[in-house]
Symmetry: C2
Subunit: 175 residues, 2 copies
């Protein structure tokens, strides 16, 4: 058995919500120890680094779990049976009002792999043209164009603290 | 009322586990709409960018929620009433066997602010001296020294996909 492997012995859904579920599993480690594992099962999502000339689009919205408004790259959850690339086009339009001619995959990240399945697919988009935003009802969100230099300052000085946003920038601009 | 604000109308704990809890809250948006909010309440944690000459320490461990082994910066959860800086020193020693003479705060990140309270405090450490690792029982973890150049390649080519690790590197090396 691979040293880095945990075998599922049992799995029990203990919470089922609108966005995620919680599992209480029992696993066997490679050294034979039995351990409990708590897992948040998340549908995954997409993050878009949309470049417009020397600027990148950021959105601002209130994030209730952290009780503050955050500047973030446009992003959103996968809908049921939705492909990541389709979700990326949908979320960019909904949150910013832009369509994009050119798309590039930047791989994926895990936001919190110790407790959560959340996998976010990262994309870079350019060749933007404006169609008009289509926010979800109950989504209060503003879109901004920031110079990339300014955004990198905001990452350094702590005005941007959202992990997917920092990861997207690092992958997009090969920092 | 600030446009970017959600007022808690009610809050109910619907799951209480070993590591996190789940709340089902009801909030009022700034436009008066009432919305449900699902929140994973996490204790928060620390992430350490430990530099040894031209190398950075990474650990490898199996992450059950994403069913794969990940290369990550040393990191761990805050214990009850633990200060982040104390936790950073504890986790670096436990996971790598190193103590460090010099520490610098790199601010914090939110790993998944749309659903989870998880706040991770980032630190840079150097002036390392070896004491011997103290892994938690049931923690199967290996420590590696990688050249920074090699690590940045691993971020670009998708061998490193852990968000806190990418964020820690970006803040530590002002990329």
């Amino acid at each position: 058995m691979d040293k880095f492997f945990e075998k599922t012995l049992s799995s029990k859904e203990v919470y089922k919500g609108r966005i995620f579920e919680v599992l209480n599993d029992e696993v066997e480690l490679s050294d034979g120890l039995i351990r409990p594992r708590e897992v948040v099962v998340h549908p995954g999502g997409v993050v878009i680094v949309a470049q417009k000339d020397s600027c990148v689009l950021l959105v601002k919205q209130y994030r209730y779990p952290v009780h503050s408004a955050q500047y973030e790259l446009p992003a959103g959850k996968l809908e049921k049976n939705e492909e990541p690339f389709g979700a990326a086009k949908r979320e960019l339009l909904e949150e910013t009002g832009y369509l994009a001619k050119n798309w590039e995959s930047l791989g994926f990240i895990y936001t919190s792999p110790g407790i959560c399945t959340e996998k976010l697919y990262l994309y870079k988009a350019d060749g933007l043209y404006y169609e008009g935003p289509k926010p979800d009802e109950g989504e209060i969100i503003d879109c901004f164009e920031f110079e990339l230099d300014q955004i990198l300052k905001m990452v350094k000085n702590g005005e941007i603290n959202d992990s997917k946003t920092i990861c997207g920038l690092m992958r997009a601009f090969k920092l």
